[in-house]
């Protein structure tokens, strides 16, 4: 545990000195929080929304909105779309941090003295992984709370607002979010073990991660019925996926190859 803690703190000291990482970690959640608030602000006050009737909306919306009808359903639809955007934050932030922290150790040649210590591969990867997952999850939660608070202030229909705090979204943010970030970090670790440029590592990880995220988002936005049971199944599936991915990440992190590939 001491070693893992030391790795996390070291990672933060190092990686947040990198401007690109700092930008990704602070600017992305900020954008994803502020932008929808603007949209809500303008849409909420608009007359066009008030005149929308249930007949104007596609049939899936009825399923999505339940009691909330007409313009408010449209509003709720927009609100939920933005929450889904939040699910990008826990994936992208740890991917960026992990890519920079592993490839960074290769380019600065710090990996050799690190691997010469009695630290185990699992300790290194857990430390580096958590160094990405912790800030990612925290920013997601903070962003969500800011967004929810903003929505509460701007949207007058309490039925719409209370839907933001229903168990469905709570579970999505507080359960699925962290699990998604574990997935992002495991994939980034695997890719980073094989490439020598952090940006390439990040991009390749993105290619792998985004379709998976897209799939979940697609399912959640009304293609199928999203309810608590579904979210729980999703969380369980993600948990299994995370365990499998982390296992592979440890296997891929071959000390000898990583050290001697880099000349």
């Amino acid at each position: 545990m001491e070693r893992i803690k030391a790795i996390i703190i070291k990672e933060w000291r190092e990686v947040f000195k990198n401007k690109f990482v700092l930008f990704t970690v602070s600017f992305l959640p900020l954008m994803i929080t502020i932008l929808p608030l603007f949209v809500l602000y303008f849409a909420g006050g608009s007359d066009d929304f008030a005149s929308i009737s249930a007949a104007d909306l596609p049939p899936q919306f009825e399923q999505l909105c339940g009691d909330v009808i007409g313009g408010d359903c449209m509003l709720y639809y927009i609100v939920t779309q933005f929450i889904l955007l939040f699910m990008m934050v826990p994936v992208i932030i740890p991917m960026t941090i992990a890519s920079y922290s592993i490839v960074g150790e290769k380019t600065t040649r710090t990996l050799e003295p690190l691997l010469a210590t009695p630290v185990t591969t699992v300790e290194i990867l857990v430390g580096k992984g958590l160094a990405g997952v912790i800030p990612a999850v925290l920013t997601t939660w903070i962003g969500y709370l800011v967004y929810a608070a903003g929505a509460y202030l701007m949207v007058s229909n309490t039925a719409v607002v209370s839907k933001l705090f229903d168990p469905l979204w709570m579970m999505a943010i507080f359960l699925v979010g962290p699990l998604l970030s574990l997935m992002g970090v495991s994939i980034a670790v695997m890719i980073s073990s094989r490439v020598n440029d952090p940006r390439v590592a990040e991009q390749i990880s993105g290619i792998f991660v985004l379709p998976v995220v897209g799939l979940f988002i697609g399912q959640m936005t009304g293609m199928i019925l999203v309810n608590e049971t579904f979210i729980l199944w999703l969380a369980a599936a993600l948990l299994v996926l995370d365990i499998v991915l982390f296992y592979f990440a440890v296997q891929v992190f071959q000390r000898e190859t990583i050290l001697s590939r880099w000349k």
Binding site: R13, E14, T108, R109
Partner: protein
């Protein structure tokens, strides 16, 4: 300090990278407390050897024990017992000197970490700079910090891979003096270098390698084995008659007159020189002084490398 219990033993240790055989059937042993040099040109396999012994690379063949543990089997135990100064210092630039050491200290599980950090930063003259980011350090300072890192957990065996290469003369001198100080503490040091003077000065024994082992002995013995010991007789005037006088002795070879000197290879100068001096004086020589021609390790090295080259040409 040196006693006769080997702390490192290798047996036909071999490492191949694809087609290249970087280390070829290396068999040697290092005694506890010894400063042991691995000497060889670039690409001789010094770093690869050190990396195998530090449990970083898996050998392609052969075996090795370090501090009583088998490489490839007890790697974690070995890592606890050894300290490594890699070829490039590998420090975290945005962390301070102290943070760098504290991090590695916790990787090694050093208990009295604050004291250890202070001890080595003071010894290496970096204590006043401890809060500064390593990115601002000179090459020499980085090297010293990396040496401090290798010593934090008081390893039994210290591997120093080219500790002075790339440093300016002043920094090299400091590092060399520090290594000399370390010798006194009974720690085993494996030092790789292509600097002959360094090997000559610091090492108890030197292994000359170029893929495989070319020679292994104390620096002085290497010189003697390869060139024998040469005695120089300084005379008022050298002549062929005096050369002839020396050539009669069975233990003398390669006698030659150069200017007013006579050079002769003598098997055991301490015992045999008095006899030779008597013969020269009786032969009418005006003897001014007698000395030994000191070969440099460099000559030994060039001779060995020359042999390697000849061999290679022979094969082609």
């Amino acid at each position: 300090m040196i006693n006769n219990s080997p702390i490192i033993v290798t047996e036909s240790l071999t490492k191949r990278f694809g087609e290249i055989t970087a280390v070829n059937q290396l068999t040697l042993s290092v005694q506890r407390g010894e400063v042991f040099g691995l000497l060889g040109p670039n690409g001789a396999g010094k770093t690869t050897t050190v990396r195998m012994l530090a449990a970083l690379l898996i050998p392609s063949g052969g075996t090795a024990q370090v501090a009583g543990f088998e490489i490839g089997e007890d790697d974690q135990d070995i890592r606890r017992k050894i300290g490594l100064l890699p070829e490039s210092p590998g420090l975290y630039d945005s962390l301070s000197a102290e943070q760098n050491l504290a991090f590695f200290g916790s990787m090694y599980g050093v208990e009295n970490i604050a004291e250890q950090i202070q001890k080595y930063l003071e010894l290496l003259g970096l204590w006043n700079r401890r809060y500064e980011p390593v990115g601002t350090f000179s090459k020499g300072m980085r090297q010293k910090l990396a040496i401090a890192r290798a010593l934090l957990h008081e390893p039994e065996v210290l591997f120093l891979d080219e500790p002075t290469s790339g440093l300016d003369p002043q920094a090299s001198k400091l590092v060399r003096e520090f290594i000399e100080d370390l010798r006194g503490e009974g720690r085993t040091i494996i030092l790789t270098t292509h600097n002959l003077e360094e090997a000559d000065r610091l090492c108890d024994r030197v292994a000359v390698i170029s893929g495989h082992l070319l020679a292994l002995d104390a620096p002085g013995e290497l010189r003697r084995k390869i060139f024998g010991r040469k005695v120089v007789f300084h005379l008022q005037e050298a002549n062929q008659a005096l050369v002839g006088t020396l050539e009669k002795f069975p233990f003398v070879s390669e006698v030659q007159a150069v200017d007013n000197k006579i050079l002769a290879a003598v098997e055991n100068p301490e015992e045999q020189n008095p006899e030779l001096i008597r013969a020269l004086v009786n032969g009418g020589a005006e003897l001014q002084f007698v000395g030994e021609l000191r070969r440099r390790l460099e000559d030994v090295y060039l001779e060995l490398m020359g042999a390697v080259e000849d061999n290679n040409h022979g094969k082609n």
